[in-house]
């Protein structure tokens, strides 16, 4: 625990995704102390699950790696994983926060050697890959995960098998009886950077996600295309493992719609264009169709739209499909009316990807636990604490970083006022 003066200068950042990481490193490199709290076992958040970024089609891991290096090199940043902020009281410049640190069942002595995972025979659905495959009950999410300490599933920790696995650790880092701890901290500013979760596609009943195996979502598709995903990057149909060469992307699946998410998530058009490139790169004879309402390639991203348009293997349908059915061969059939021509269509595909939108965590499972906090109708944070990235609005990575850097500045204002 830092001394009273330093504690007054500490900035709490909640959420270790690209926004939270950015606020943390930018504030720390300006000279302020940062406490970064992440609810998952590793930092990186939603972007760590992405295969590539648009428009450069580069790996998110590259930018995350720089940020991790900056954290490793900067003693001003403390980070907690598997931790959640339970309560905030006080006011700007002088908050008291209560943080629950959930057990990892593996201490920081872990060297990442992987012996435990090799010994462990219990497998569980992999949450990192949206349950599309099974993984060991003790693991880390991927080879680039940071911090690289392994973690154990809480349910597994209760079993006898966990004790056997614990014995395999050459450094004694595994502790299946580890318990949650509560930490209290004084901070000058709180930056809420809890990001988003994919909107639950099962709620969009006409599209049959959850009912038809070959209807998937954009985030699942990111994992499907990733070399560490459930199919080692092979784009195949979930139903039969057949190569998915005829792929449909349905934009605004549940977005811009009062029945589901009334707002636009900003990134989905560009994300689908990027995912269309995954398909086209993997299968030169593939055919991609993008169903859209408006193509939202804002500002400079227009060039990416043009590049995508130049690919003759990608066709465009201005239409919000009415529904999806399944034919006798297990092909999802997209049914609707072409808005430009008025013609009705019923088109079969190998795979349909629903471009679902962003539901802010702050609306559902990461509400700001502070009486002074406010949010808009959709659950985005609007006041009481500072909000960065997708906790404030649905947006892309570059804009999240822009917002997160701005919030580092606002947090410093609070710290200066206090100091």
């Amino acid at each position: 625990m830092a001394d009273a003066h330093a504690a007054g200068q500490t900035i709490l950042v909640v959420g270790g995704g690209i926004s939270g990481l950015t606020t943390a490193v930018e504030a720390a490199e300006t000279g302020y102390n940062v406490l970064l709290v992440e609810k998952d076992p590793h930092l990186g958040g939603r972007v760590a699950q992405h295969n590539k970024y648009f428009p450069k089609l580069c790996s998110p891991t590259c930018g995350l790696e720089i940020n991790y290096q900056r954290i490793k090199n900067n003693p001003r940043i403390r980070y907690l994983t598997l931790a959640e902020v339970e309560e905030i009281s006080g006011s700007e410049g002088n908050y008291t926060v209560r943080i629950r640190k959930n057990p990892r069942f593996v201490t920081e002595a872990c060297t990442g050697c992987g012996d435990c995972s090799a010994v462990c025979t219990t497998e569980v659905p992999d949450p990192f890959n949206f349950g599309m495959n099974q993984v060991k009950a003790i693991r880390n999410n991927h080879a680039m995960a940071f911090p690289s300490w392994y973690y154990m599933d809480p349910e597994f920790a209760k079993t006898e098998a966990a004790k056997t696995v614990a014995k395999s650790c050459p450094v004694g880092a595994i502790q299946p009886d580890m318990e949650a701890t509560i930490i209290e901290e004084q901070v000058a500013a709180v930056v809420w950077a809890t990001g988003w979760k994919p909107y639950d596609a099962e709620k969009i009943r006409p599209y049959g996600f959850g009912q038809y195996a070959n209807v998937t979502t954009n985030m699942r598709f990111e994992r499907l295309a990733n070399v560490y995903g459930p199919t080692s990057g092979k784009i195949v149909r979930p139903s039969d493992g057949k190569e998915a060469k005829k792929v449909a992307f349905i934009q605004c699946a549940g977005s811009r719609d009062h029945n589901y998410l009334p707002f636009c998530s900003r990134v989905c058009c560009l994300a689908s264009m990027k995912q269309a490139a995954y398909v086209r790169d993997q299968y030169p004879d593939s055919e991609v169709t993008i169903f859209y309402i408006d193509l939202r390639a804002m500002d400079r991203y227009e060039a990416f739209l043009q590049k995508t348009r130049d690919d003759a293997g990608i066709s465009w349908m201005k239409s919000k499909p009415a529904r999806i059915e399944e034919d006798a061969n297990g092909n999802p059939v997209v049914i609707g009316e072409n808005t430009l021509t008025g013609e009705r269509y019923a088109l079969p595909f190998d795979l349909v990807v629903l471009a679902t939108g962003m539901e802010p965590h702050s609306a559902v499972d990461a509400k700001v636990p502070f009486a002074g906090a406010s949010q808009d109708d959709y659950g985005f944070v609007t006041g009481g604490v500072l909000a960065a990235g997708c906790a404030a609005m649905p947006t892309d990575v570059a804009s999240s970083v822009q917002s997160a850097t701005a919030m580092a500045m606002k947090a410093i204002h609070a710290a200066v006022k206090r100091g």
Partner: protein, 740 residues
């Protein structure tokens, strides 16, 4: 300086002790490398192991530490000692984990041991060649920040800088603050609810706040005619009609906003100039602000107004990008008409795609509910009417076909053009999109590479091409904010300005500590050169991606350490090998290359040297280790700061030493480059094009040296890349220089 007392600490945990002959390894450190203190521990990163090292440091036995354990990317918190010199030797991730050794396979075991011994040699000579970097400090540095541009972005940046406790110098070229916001009647909602409603223009309050802040010094009617020096010591000349001021600042925010695309250049079908009743959005806004929403032809109320979106935008002949704000802005203007004329108003928005991202979808909905009519289509022609107003021919894409709209006014939503000169000294055709001529330089930088802020991407904006680091520019300590950087609306501009202001104060703090900013944040080292060896070839001053090096009259380099990002491109560029860093030099790597043991030809153990960029290739190799993805035991890896630091001397050294091949792993370059130093890997590739001369001189095959692009996620494909290179090399005769 105290003499270097090196301690080498070998970890035997994670299988290292089982795989390697510790006694032999320690002998390399003690007998061969003459390291005075050599110790081992079964778990070096554990509290006991760390305490063992700390004790040696505390009692003065050791002041420089070699940790021979895992990758430097692991256990950084445990091995964080308060010392100036530390080197990590990776025996694990890129060592034993990268080799597939079957129990009892003596040859493989021997190869593994040789590899570990070589890595220990490399770490040892590197440590011996390393000096303590002392920070570049300047006693008369400034922490003040120059903000150029007194519009929304500049005012926001200046206010935020002042609120953080720093002084700002705000330079505005006109006689008023507020910029384009001054002409706005209302503004679109500031990303705060209610998103459906227009908000009051707040610029007056912001101007008052800035004017009242005694930390902000304001120069109106003024421009920056000269900027020389470097972060912490930017010396400015600020001129207005009557006076010239010389001021020193530490960093700079450029917030000069945008120009509107010249409507005279718009395609003829949009009718600008054909009738006074065709106006731009900016002209319409001014009319609304003055309370005159009227036909310009005859002053009659303009109750029927059409808005042509994307006017001269998303069009290869004009602006090929979208300005991002015009849809929302035009909806706001339609609301003005509807609010003023109520039931008599008719507004039409003729659009390609409606772009109202995020919560702004609510604003779109509100415009529809208020009665604005949205037509997806093109304006194909405009004709003036004798009775005033214009007839707008529209090709409606949604089945309605061609129609003619008779309106009082047609408003053209023209796009934003950056005001920043983004000439790249190394790229031809410097004129940015949408301009016939370069904009005048805003800062007039006195840099060897010219006065501009070189672009990083393909557009005419000085926007960074780093998705993850949007504020990066190629001129350290200078950050561009708002629509000068990238087209954006009001809310985004304010956010952007706050972020750029943060980067600006971060830069002055880094300079005050004498450390680098992103991407090598905190690095203390900086380049210096040996003047007597310099041939004034100017490669360093031309190639530096950040324009850090000026020249004196004779062509000698003048380093500006605070501009430097420590990528070492200058070092790699220098054919005379005179540029070095305290802890990184051509000589250091050369010595390391020479230290590696090359088996005699008859042993049939080829050696292949890998230069791996520390940013992407090294983590990818680490990941291969984690995945236990085996590679040839003949590989020796030397990490480089950036491929840009590659000196061709090293290739010659490796060949003379008897290496059979050299594989270089750099980052992607070109338009979608991933090099953290923008041009490092591109420059390295360029240099390599001359390597065949070296190889010819040595009478060696040119395919012994190869450069590959390695992405951080290439751990799955990299073993194949390495494997095929090893195979290619093994098809050649051994390097005849072995044993010389």
């Amino acid at each position: 300086m105290e003499p270097k007392k090196i301690g080498c600490y070998i970890c035997t945990g994670c299988g290292i002790g089982d795989a390697l002959d510790l006694k032999a390894l320690k002998a390399i450190a003690t007998k061969e490398q003459k390291i005075p203190v050599v110790k081992d521990h079964a778990l070096l990163c554990g509290s006991e192991g760390v305490a063992m090292i700390q004790k040696d440091l505390d009692d003065g036995t050791v002041n420089a530490v070699i940790i021979a354990a895992c990758s430097h990317r692991e256990k950084s918190a445990e091995f964080r000692f308060d010392i100036d010199l530390m080197e990590r030797v990776d025996l694990r991730d890129k060592g034993i984990w990268l080799l597939d050794v079957k129990e009892g396979d003596e040859t493989a075991e021997e190869d593994r041991q040789m590899m570990a011994e070589d890595y220990l040699r490399l770490g040892s000579v590197k440590m011996k060649k390393m000096d303590i970097p002392s920070p570049f400090l300047h006693s008369e540095g400034s922490k003040d920040v120059l903000v150029v541009g007194g519009g929304l972005a500049g005012l926001t940046a200046a206010r935020d800088i002042a609120k953080a406790g720093y002084n700002a110098v705000l330079v505005e070229k006109s006689d008023t603050l507020g910029g384009k916001m001054n002409s706005m009647l209302k503004v679109t909602p500031d990303n705060l609810p209610p998103y459906r409603d227009m908000a009051d223009n707040f610029i007056g309050a912001l101007i008052s706040e800035v004017e009242a802040d005694n930390r902000i010094k304001i120069f109106k009617n003024a421009t920056v005619t000269k900027t020389s020096g470097q972060p912490g010591q930017f010396d400015l000349i600020i001129k207005n009609a009557s006076s010239t001021k010389e001021i020193r600042v530490g960093s700079i925010v450029v917030a000069t906003g945008f120009d509107l695309y010249d409507p005279a250049k718009l395609p003829a079908n949009l009718g600008y100039g054909s009738s006074p009743d065709v106006v731009t959005s900016a002209e319409f806004e001014k009319m609304a602000k003055e309370g005159k929403i009227v036909r310009k032809s005859d002053g009659q109320p303009a109750k029927r107004v059409a808005f042509a979106l994307c006017a001269g935008q998303r069009d290869k002949e004009h602006l090929d990008y979208c300005s991002g704000a015009c849809c929302i802005y035009s909806m706001k203007q339609a609301m003005y008409v509807i609010d003023q004329f109520g039931i008599d108003a008719s507004t039409y928005l003729i659009y390609q795609e409606i772009r109202t991202p995020g919560q702004m979808e609510d604003f779109y909905r509100a415009a529809q509910e208020k009665g604005a009519v949205f037509i997806k289509g093109d304006v194909t022609g405009v004709s003036g009417q004798a009775k005033g107003g214009v007839a707008v021919q529209v090709n409606d894409h949604l089945m309605r076909g061609k129609e003619s709209l008779e309106v009082d006014l047609l408003v053209l939503a023209t796009g934003m053009v950056s005001t920043v000169d983004t000439t790249d000294p190394n790229v031809a055709s410097p004129v940015g999109t949408g301009r016939d001529e370069l904009p005048g330089s805003i800062l007039n930088l006195q840099y060897r590479q010219g006065p501009s802020l070189p672009r990083l991407g393909a557009s005419g904006f000085p926007d960074s091409h780093f998705i993850c680091f949007p504020y990066e520019t190629r001129r350290t300590g200078i950050y561009v904010a708002g629509p000068a950087r990238r087209p954006m609306g009001i809310a985004a501009t304010m956010t952007d300005a706050s972020g750029a202001a943060l980067k600006a104060i971060q830069a002055v703090e880094a300079v005050a500590q004498g450390v680098a900013v992103h991407p090598r944040s905190g690095d203390l080292s900086f380049p210096s050169y040996r003047a007597e060896g310099c041939t004034q070839c100017k490669r360093c001053t031309e190639e530096c991606p950040f324009g850090a090096i000026n020249e004196d009259d004779k062509g000698n380099p003048l380093f500006n350490p605070a501009r430097c990002r420590r990528c070492s491109t200058c070092m790699g560029a220098c054919p005379a090998k005179v540029i070095s860093f305290a802890n990184y030099s051509v000589d250091m790597i050369s010595t390391m290359i020479k230290e590696i043991e090359i088996p005699e030809e008859d042993e049939e153990k080829p050696r292949i040297l890998v230069f791996a960029c520390t940013n992407d290739a090294v983590p990818a190799l680490d990941m291969m280790g984690r995945l236990r993805s085996p590679i040839s035991p003949y590989i020796r890896i030397i990490p480089l700061r950036c491929m840009g630091s590659l000196s061709l001397v090293w290739i010659a050294d490796a060949m003379s030493k008897g290496f059979d091949g050299v594989l270089l792993m750099g980052c992607r370059h070109g338009d979608d480059y991933q090099c953290h130093n923008v041009r490092g890997s591109a420059l390295a590739e360029n240099r390599l094009s001359k390597v065949s001369e070296t190889l010819q001189r040595l009478k060696l095959e040119s395919n012994r040296v190869k450069m590959v692009e390695v992405n951080i996620m290439d751990a799955e494909t990299l073993p194949g890349v390495i494997g095929s290179f090893v195979e290619q090399i093994s098809n050649l005769n051994p390097n005849p220089y072995k044993g010389f």
